[in-house]
Amino acid sequence: MSPPGEPAELEVAGTPASRLAAYIRGGGVVVPLLTVTLAFLVGGLVVLLTGNDPIATYRAIFEGTGLQWLFPWVTGDDRTTAALNLQQTLIITTPLILVGLAVAFAFRAGLFNIGGQGQYIVGTIAAVWVGSSFEGMPGFLHIVLALVAACAAGAFWAGIAGFLKATVGANEVISTIMLNYIALWIGVYLFSLGGPLQNDRDPNLPVSNEVVESAHLPVFWGDPVLQGLHVGLFIALAAVVVFWLLLNRSTIGYEVRAVGFNPEAARYGGMSVAKNYVLVMAICGLFAGLAGALNVLGWQFRIATNDISASEIGFMGIAVALLGRNTAAGVVASALLFGALQSGTSQRNLDPSIFEPDLASNLTLIIQGLVVLIVSADVLVLGVLRRGRGLVRRRGRPRPTPAPEGEA
């Protein structure tokens, strides 16, 4: 009795990591730019269809991001406002970098981490708990302790999904999604009326205790009272370096990539694929948990139950990672893009006379969806690109020889 032949289709797909690697090789920086442009064009179309001026809208959003601060000709009051807005943009970018890393690291290992949201939530819970306790602890130590607690919480939470995959083969897509909702309801429970971590002062408010002063991250640009930019940005950038080193220079990263590309060959090479799943997910959770901590210790300082259910940062991480092609530098760039988009469309920064912020935040979602969609169709984008190059070549030379087919 021998089993029927292997399905011949297997070779077509490859692991997600392997597809994405082909994508990275195929497009350079042009493809992501093309992707973003296309997404914004379609987004503009939506704006146009609903009777608004897309150019004015995008312009207002851009002004809301504060990125014009980088232009030397912007001066005076404009520059002051721009600085304030840019601080907001970077505050939002900081956690986005980290949740992007959380998704990207999993992708590189051939796993889907749709659970950045849940890992982020448990990170915020741990950070707010540590940050609001231990009053009188020296500041630096307090911050470190809160950060470590948040990382550990995130790692543990994601590790559950890795463990279930490693031991019983539970699909990580479904388990991480479920862990998102479980984390959400645990969070809501903890800080809700009568919940165990509800604040001590006002029993009618479903919020946590305030993070004590000693655990606040120092602000290095702008006014701490007006939500200036905190040093969390540097922590996130350091995490990017760690991500790169871990992936490209450590034996762990080597194993992660090998398992991601070809688990069977990795197994033949003596690696434990199961152990790798747990490790990878834990590292992902660590990044996402850290994101939560930086938000809590950097500017939120407390958690309200509403914030927990309204946050969609984990899903944005997917868009960040995919657009950034799961590379360190790419994640930073696309986090900045989405961070800018989010702050540019926020109630605080967007001029409501031009475009309603409520609409704009949904526009952000649409653009994100389009980005992920276009990135998912690597074949499409690479095909367009290849055809584009063909056009260029045709213009250059009168009779082109047919380019050999196959992956670039």
């Binding site: 399905p7 011949a8 289709e9 297997l10 077509v12 797909a13 997600p16 939506v46 609903t50 749709i114 279930l164 019983v168 083969g169 539970a170 699909n171 897509v173 479904i174 388990s175 999604i177 479920m178 862990l179 998102n180 909702y181 479980i182 959400l184 309801w185 645990i186 809501v188 429970y189 809700s192 009326l193 009568g194 919940g195 969609e312 899903f315 997917i318 868009a319 995919l322 309603e356 409520d358 609409l359 935040s361 949904n362 526009l363 952000t364 979602l365 649409i366 653009i367 994100q368 969806g369 389009l370 980005v371 992920v372 969609l373 990135v375 998912s376 169709a377 690597d378 074949v379 499409l380």
Partner: protein, 387 residues
């Protein structure tokens, strides 16, 4: 007794272990329940040793949960128990919670049987929920609204289909993308059209069906005597879909495409077209699930109102081993857990919040416990490329 029967016996024992401690029996000591629970686990272990590990594991889980449930119940006040465990109300609520899951799960089943993972069910439901009520409001008719919702789900599914079938995108990534799109699109149109007011209060809604003869029967009448029309539609779809999948040429072809597309192709079955149709059908069904939420159950729309039901539906598909009746069982299980969670505030306000997580925990346990044994369609997630 076959291992399979033994497993089912174990599941039964686990349920009974919990049941005896609840109204109306209300046994106030956990001892008999614990004996039953241990027996259930033992039966489960024995069944697992044999061929049928799925049912065996189910029995072990039922035994453990039954035991824990019994201990919790015997420690709780009788008054509270009687408030929560009004069986007829629980089962009626179960049907309400199960209906949207069932629609979406039947949709997911169609799509996955053809070989396409549909993580986008959540977004397709959301589309159905919004455009269902939007249509009902516009046209002044819930039927037209329902059609609009179905179409909206189908259109989103078409996007997923084009990307995952024609463009060979990764199906999970494409699914995540259409979810984001649905959130954005529904939110955008909702805000643009209704602004801060929300959907109007007097939108035409899908009617309940009153069964005159049955409504008077105690218990049965209270559960199914007055049920929404769409719930009946969902229940009716279960045997129809089962018939289609397993007893018609079309169903045979659909399954062959999901199992071994190259074999289907070699006998002239259009693989890509079959997948397109299946994915679109799945979007329409999920859309109808969303329609039920907004047009039948709640009567309004709020942003992101599907709250992960589409993802639970995915787990329901796995739980039901890609079979319609299995999906029905799964939808009822999760529907029941939601129904219990909904009635728990009788115990404690804040604990009730925590119990909102119950269905998701259950999904996690189910996916962890069962996935090893239930076998998905072989070609799932693999784009098909002609030679």
């Amino acid at each position: 007794m076959s291992p399979r029967q033994l497993g089912w016996l174990g599941i039964g024992l686990g349920v009974v272990a919990w049941y005896v401690t609840l109204p109306p029996l209300l046994v106030r000591t956990p001892l008999p329940s614990l004996v039953l629970a241990v027996a259930a686990v033992a039966a489960g272990v024995a069944a697992t040793r044999g061929e049928d590990r799925r049912v065996g594991r189910g029995a072990i889980a039922a035994g453990l949960l039954g035991g824990i449930g019994a201990i919790v119940a015997t420690r709780s006040g009788v008054g509270n128990l009687e408030k929560v465990f009004v069986w007829s109300a629980l089962f009626a609520a179960m049907l309400r919670f199960a209906t949207p899951l069932l629609f979406a799960a039947l949709g997911g089943l169609m799509s996955e049987r053809s070989g396409v993972i549909n993580v986008g069910l959540e977004g397709m439901m959301l589309m159905g929920a919004f455009f269902g009520i939007f249509g009902a409001d516009m046209f002044g008719s819930w039927v037209l609204g329902a059609l609009a919702g179905i179409a909206a789900g189908g259109v989103l599914a078409l996007v997923h289909a084009v990307f995952s079938i024609a463009l060979r995108a990764d199906q999970v990534v494409s699914g995540v993308a259409v979810n984001l799109l649905a959130l954005g699109i529904t939110g955008y149109v909702f805000v643009a059209h209704y602004g801060d007011q929300g959907t109007p209060g007097e939108v035409p809604r899908a009617p309940d069906v009153t069964l005159p003869g049955i409504k008077e029967i105690p218990f049965v009448g209270e559960v199914i005597g007055e049920v929404n029309l769409l719930t009946w539609v969902a229940l009716l779809l279960v045997p129809l879909l089962a018939l289609y999948l397993f007893r018609t040429p079309g169903g045979l072809r659909l399954r062959s495409v999901g199992e071994k597309p190259r074999a289907a192709d070699s006998v002239g079955i259009p693989v890509l077209r079959t997948r397109y149709l299946a994915v679109i059908a799945s979007g329409c069904l999920a859309g109808l699930g969303g329609v039920y939420l907004s047009v039948a159950l709640v009567g309004s729309f709020n942003q992101g109102m599907t709250a992960g039901r589409g993802f639970i539906a995915l787990a329901v598909v796995i739980f039901g081993a890609w079979r319609p009746f299995g999906a029905l069982a799964g939808a009822c299980l999760f529907g029941f857990s939601s129904a219990v969670a909904q009635r728990l505030p009788a115990f404690s306000e804040s604990l009730a919040v925590l119990f909102q997580a119950l269905p998701y925990v259950l999904v996690l346990i189910v996916v962890a416990g069962l996935i090893g044994r239930s076998r998905p369609p072989a070609a799932i997630g693999v784009p098909y490329v002609k030679e």
